[in-house]
């Protein structure tokens, strides 16, 4: 997917002014957070499960190559083919090769964020292969002129049912419906022949299980199963970091993933797919492939940002983010929005292409607290800010003022004079009132709120005067 994160500020402005979007954001705000909280009560000891989940993900990353080799061996032994892609482009080429080899005209797709990273749909179309999104949300976006998702698990969370109803009526040429059940039925009717006719299904993968060479897929719609069992060929496309050692580990992670995501104790479907159809199997594809994408992940191993690879894509961080919930997912400009996107986008796409993302955060740490694998997202954003400074990507005025502040603050006598000067200046700006309404040095502040006038004397001066007076 083409990155637009460099236009963050203008995209945010548009979205703040979009009353329909704002209404939709308000409507869903807090819903997932509340569901998550309610669902945690059904875990005996959330903190312990979280610690275990964190440990599973952290330890696998320490020996990622070993676990990937194990996965490849086991998957291969069970008849699947494991292919490796350095980046999204290579992933697209591999998928297209597979499609050509099997004479594929139509592909049904279950949800895969890695396919968004790779821009797979556009690549397939360019190669004359027709991709059909079958996750309801992704389907809606696809028929809306390939609109990008705004959330990693609820891709159309930014749309109201009225907007979807209008879209369906326009694209399907049917009468407008307002009932969600009816809308879903309409989509299902459109998709059924696609499931039956497609020669290939592409899915993502929530976890790759090394000991069995399986892929686990966690969904709430039946489409994931259809995509992976009905067509002749199944391709599971996911990132190399998704591997976990054992089925026991899967059990632990499944206790925390749906709860963190939607507040469900378990999702409607959990599929565990191992190899192609064997003799005697009732269903399954004739051919099964894994396309495992690096796309910048391997570079993070062993560095400051390795904890980010623990991410299990639950979306809790964005569901709890005051910024995400105010500006919506599209503002972020690439595949991953919210706190996890603010860390991943600059790492995968280049610091200079997403300069705003690590900055546009209040560091309130709601994300860090809810993350089921304990990723310290605010710390990682701070680290990215450091990298920006080191790379000369921050405005010189900001760097200078930070330096100057620190230089003065290390010199108490000079600092005290500076404080006195600042008090005088701010009080001059306030001009006898208790507040300042426009301030040249920080126009951003006064654009949105008043700035209070400081007291006539700083604490240090008043305190010193008191001490002199013997009190």
């Amino acid at each position: 997917m083409e990155i637009r994160s460099m236009h963050f500020v203008s995209r945010v402005r548009q979205r703040l002014d979009d009353t329909e979007l704002q209404r939709n954001l308000q409507r869903t705000r807090g819903r997932n957070a509340a569901a998550r909280l309610a669902s945690l009560s059904s875990l005996d000891d959330f903190d312990a499960v979280r610690a275990r989940a964190t440990d599973i993900r952290a330890s696998v990353l320490r020996d990622l190559d070993v676990w990937l080799e194990r996965f490849e061996a086991e998957a291969t032994r069970r008849g699947a083919t494991v292919l490796w892609a350095r980046d999204g482009d290579e992933a697209c080429r591999l998928v297209i090769d597979i499609a050509r080899r099997h004479d594929v005209k139509t592909v049904v797709k279950a949800k895969s964020m890695v396919s968004e990273e790779a821009g797979l749909n556009a690549a397939l179309e360019a190669a004359g292969i027709r991709p059909v999104e079958t996750d309801l949300g992704e389907y809606i976006l696809q028929i809306n002129d390939n609109e990008p998702p705004s959330h990693i698990i609820m891709p159309v969370i930014h749309k109201s049912k009225e907007q979807v109803s209008e879209l369906f009526a326009r694209v399907h040429g049917t009468a407008a419906k307002t009932d969600i059940v009816e809308l879903t039925r309409e989509a299902r009717e459109k998709l059924r022949p696609e499931f039956l006719g497609a020669e290939m299904g592409i899915s993502g993968g929530n976890f790759l299980i090394a000991e069995t060479g399986s892929v686990a897929i966690v969904t709430n719609e039946g489409n994931g199963r259809m995509c992976t069992t009905m067509p002749r060929v199944h391709v599971a496309l996911t990132g190399i970091e998704k591997v976990i050692p054992t089925l026991d580990d899967l059990a632990t992670l499944l206790r925390i993933l749906p709860r963190s995501a939607t507040g469900q104790a378990i999702s409607n479907y959990v599929s565990l797919l191992t190899g192609p159809k064997h003799e005697g199997d009732a269903d399954g594809p004739e051919h099964m492939y894994f396309v495992l994408v690096d796309g910048g992940r391997a570079d993070l191993i062993g560095g400051d940002f390795e904890p980010m690879l623990r991410c299990i894509r639950c979306g809790a961080c964005m569901n709890h983010c005051p910024v995400y919930q105010t500006i919506g997912g599209h503002s972020y400009g690439w595949v991953y929005p919210g706190p996890m996107g603010s860390v991943l986008t600059p790492l995968y796409q280049g610091l200079e292409k997403a300069k705003d993302l690590p900055q546009a955060a209040t560091l309130c740490n709601q994300c860090g607290v809810v993350c089921p694998v304990s990723i310290p997202l605010p710390d990682l954003m701070r680290k990215l800010r450091e990298k920006q400074v080191d790379a000369g990507l921050r405005p010189w005025s900001e760097r200078l003022s930070m330096r100057l502040w620190a230089w003065v603050a290390q010199r108490p006598a000079l600092y005290a004079r500076g404080v006195r000067l600042a008090v005088r200046y701010l009080r001059w700006l306030a001009d006898g009132r208790d507040r300042i309404q426009a301030m040249g040095v920080a126009p951003g502040w006064t654009a949105e709120r008043d700035f209070p006038a400081p007291a006539a004397q700083s604490f240090r001066d008043r305190y010193a005067a008191r001490r002199r007076a013997g009190r």
């Binding site: 500020v9 945010v12 402005r13 703040l16 807090g30 005051p322 910024v323 105010t326 500006i327 705003d356 900055q359 546009a360 955060a361 209040t362 560091l363 309130c364 740490n365 709601q366 701070r382 990215l384 800010r385 450091e386 990298k387 400074v389 080191d390 900001e398 760097r399 930070m402 330096r403 502040w405 620190a406 603050a409 290390q410 108490p412 600092y415 404080v419 600042a422 008090v423 507040r435 309404q437 920080a442 951003g444 502040w445 949105e448 709120r449 008043d450 700035f451 209070p452 400081p454 007291a455 004397q457 700083s458 604490f459 240090r460 008043r462 305190y463 010193a464 005067a465 008191r466 009190r471």
Partner: protein
């Protein structure tokens, strides 16, 4: 239980914070009064300036470290250090040690200071075990949990427990009280649109609480919330630092 006599419980280093020093000294004096009333002798090192948080959050690790070293040297001699700010106390407690991940000698000093540094209400409620509060405020109050105090230090119950000690205070719940107010330090200046929209939501919740007064523990959030309320024409809702509320009337100069 009556409070112990003045000063008998030892010295406490008070880190006033740069923002309180510059903008609202009364918070510092309120903190002094509360620490004294709890039976301690507050000491204010006069060389203190800033904890280094602006640099830390702006990616200027070098200046954060320099200011951290200065503060550590100034305060490590006290048995206990208090700041009337969740974010500055949080900076010292949770971030200082990590600033020196590659420097054992300083990390040990940072950890030692971190272990004895407290946000004001945390100090009063958990360390001092205060049961009497000098403030005499009368009215309905709602409380906003500032992010760093809440999530870095676990300050939640303490300010409310202290307010419970004030017979005139009627505490009202605040919807989304744990949500960020949109301040975020320089974020508020760099992304005013987003910051203003988040602050607006906070103000709406405060107004809907029905309390005429909102109390909180961080001056940054206070300036953000008060500034937004005034900008939208709300002159009535009072925004007050928890220290000022608990301390009540201060001695005139």
């Amino acid at each position: 239980m009556s409070q112990p006599p003045h000063g008998s419980r030892g010295e406490v280093g008070l880190f006033v914070t740069c923002l309180v020093d510059l903008m609202r000294p009364s918070i510092g004096f309120a903190a002094l009064k509360l620490i004294e009333a709890a039976g301690y002798t507050p000491v204010v090192p006069d060389t203190q300036t800033c904890c280094g948080q602006p640099g830390h959050n702006a990616g200027d690790a070098r200046s954060a470290r320099a200011l951290a070293q200065k503060l550590i040297a100034e305060f490590e001699g006290f048995p206990c250090v208090v700041a009337p700010s969740g974010s500055c106390a949080g900076m010292i407690r949770t971030h200082y040690p990590h600033l020196f991940d590659d420097d054992d000698a300083w990390r040990i000093r940072a950890e030692a200071l971190a272990a004895k540094t407290f946000e004001l209400t945390q100090f009063l409620a958990d360390v001092a075990g205060v049961t009497e509060v000098p403030g005499d405020f009368v009215g309905a109050v709602t409380y906003h949990d500032s992010c760093a105090g809440l999530r870095e230090l676990g300050v939640k119950r303490q300010p409310r427990a202290l307010l419970d000690r004030m017979p005139g205070v009627e505490q009202r719940p605040l919807n989304e009280c744990e949500e960020c107010c949109g301040f975020g330090g320089l974020f508020s200046v760099k992304y005013p649109d987003i910051s203003g929209a988040i602050a607006q939501r906070k103000c709406d919740n405060i107004r809907a609480s029905g309390a005429g007064t909102v109390a909180l523990g961080d001056l940054g959030c206070m300036m953000n919330i008060e500034g937004r309320l005034r900008r939208i024409g709300d002159e009535g809702t009072q925004v007050i630092h928890i220290a000022e509320l608990l301390a009540g009337r201060l001695d005139p100069d």
